[in-house]
């Protein structure tokens, strides 16, 4: 239960981090909060030759509101998303309001336990890409954009392309996930999140996030997003279930119908935490409850 030997470098600038990643390539692993990587190293499931610690780099832990997005720096710890603030275009830092401002704390409280939330980072969770991780589900459901830096370049990766399979992302070895853009949902959106785990703080067996946009004139749903974790190697969207919602007015029957389609749309594998049939049942329940929560009704 001790990690294998590794060389260690803790640059104090992004440029030096990118140089180190460029030099060491896939021998290197980025260390952010370490709450996912270090357990894997202690189990020796991960044996990086070189650890590039980004804990001393400035400029990676900001949250700012720009062009309808909240940009979350990779090193923002989970605990800060329990009461999110954002630097506004005029430079003031304000509590983040609105639908996203309510959703983030709702999700953050499910991320590990308090000491994990004090060290673990948003970007670390996204780059680790556990298919049941709350932030990965959120990123996929809201179509977040990941900002990847490399020496001399930058690219933006859509969430749909970012998560490839279990613990595997589109990031190249020489790239650093620097920030994530989350769309600030307008006041016509309703979002909910529901998770089932056997003990508080555990990874979800199944978790669901929903976001629906309401037509202000009719109250009917004009756009719907349903994302689920714990049923595949990556967090998945459920387009058939989403489609059943469009044109409908939110309510228990509409939610139940969408949840039924969602349960049929996933193809989970069974493991010791739950059989395939059990996970399918959980998808039905979590989707219905997330929709109800978003609509302001008890699940």
């Amino acid at each position: 239960m001790k990690p294998a030997r590794f060389a260690y470098v803790a640059p104090d600038s992004i440029e030096d981090v990118l140089d180190a990643l460029d030099r060491f390539g896939d021998e290197a692993k980025v260390l952010s909060g370490g709450q996912s990587l270090v357990p894997m190293m202690n189990f020796r499931l991960a044996r990086p030759e070189v650890i590039v610690d980004i804990g001393r780099v400035g400029g990676l832990d900001g949250m700012s509101v720009v062009n309808g997005s909240l940009t979350v720096g990779a090193r923002v710890i989970h605990a800060r998303l329990e009461a999110p603030t954002g630097a506004m275009p005029d430079g003031r830092t304000e509590p983040l309001g609105g639908v996203l401002g309510s959703l983030l704390p709702e999700v953050a409280r499910f991320v590990g336990h308090l000491p994990i939330r004090a060290r673990g980072t948003f970007g670390g969770s996204i780059a680790h890409a556990d298919p049941a991780a709350e932030w990965c589900i959120l990123a996929r459901t809201l179509d977040a954009e990941m900002v990847a830096l490399r020496r001399g370049g930058e690219r933006v990766i859509a969430a749909a392309d970012f998560f490839e399979t279990v613990f595997t992302t589109a990031l190249e070895p020489e790239e650093l996930l620097a920030a994530v853009h989350l769309p600030i949902l307008g006041d016509d959106w309703r979002a909910g999140f529901c998770e089932f785990s056997r003990r508080a703080g555990d990874f979800a067996v199944v978790a669901a996030m929903t976001a629906v946009r309401l037509d202000p004139a009719t109250g009917a749903i004009s756009e719907a997003r349903i994302g689920v974790g714990g049923v595949a190697g990556v967090p998945v969207r459920l387009p058939a279930a989403e489609a059943t919602l469009v044109g409908e007015v939110p309510g228990a029957e509409v939610h139940a119908a969408a949840a039924e389609v969602a349960a049929g749309e996933v193809d989970p594998a069974g493991d010791l935490h739950g059989s395939a049939a059990y996970r399918r049942d959980l998808v039905r329940a979590m989707v219905a409850r997330a929709l109800a929560q978003g609509a302001g009704a008890p699940g």
């Binding site: 260690y8 709450q35 994990i116």
Partner: protein
């Protein structure tokens, strides 16, 4: 290019523990928990699972409870670290949390106790008016195989209530 510490060499590390600078030599892979126990002789910090689940190794890092098995000693340089050895006064007077764990039977075998004490100290110092539900949720961070938790919750709640009275 920033200096690289080779894998097989102990590098000088300065840890500020309970207000005292400790100068040690540690390989990069040395966890803070092992550095505290093996290099600083502070064996009050216990190691249970060594993968961040049990919380026995909880210490305060700049005031926040963290798992010292999920942190390398080299990362903790420059931070204020507090361990269970720093709770009681120099004359042996127990910290109010230690008194309360004793009075409320918040421990039996005692293995998880240092972690629970540091978790509780961090929680009450940063959130002195924490509600009952949140307190239970915070205490769910650590594992205890003896008490059934109720007496631990009662101990910490009594310290919170006494401080707020």
């Amino acid at each position: 290019m920033t200096e690289i510490s080779p894998a097989d060499e102990a590098v000088p590390v300065v840890l500020r523990v309970n207000g005292t600078d400790r100068r040690i030599a540690a390989e990069p892979r040395r966890t803070l928990a092992d550095a505290l126990r093996e290099d600083c002789g502070l064996t009050g910090t216990h190691l249970g699972c060594e993968h961040g689940v049990c919380g026995a190794c909880t210490v305060l890092l700049d005031g926040e409870p963290v798992r010292s098995c999920l942190l390398f000693a080299v990362q903790a340089q420059g931070a204020e670290i507090r361990t269970v050895e720093g709770l009681a006064d120099d004359d042996g007077t127990l910290h109010p949390l230690q008194e309360a764990f004793w009075r409320h039977h918040g421990l039996q075998c005692g293995f998880c106790t240092p972690g629970f004490l540091m978790l509780s100290a961090g929680v009450l110092e940063t959130r002195p008016d924490i509600g009952d539900e949140e307190l239970r949720e915070a205490l769910s961070s650590n594992l205890c195989r003896c008490t059934g938790y109720q007496t631990i919750v009662e101990a910490v709640r009594s310290v919170r209530d006494a401080a707020g009275a």
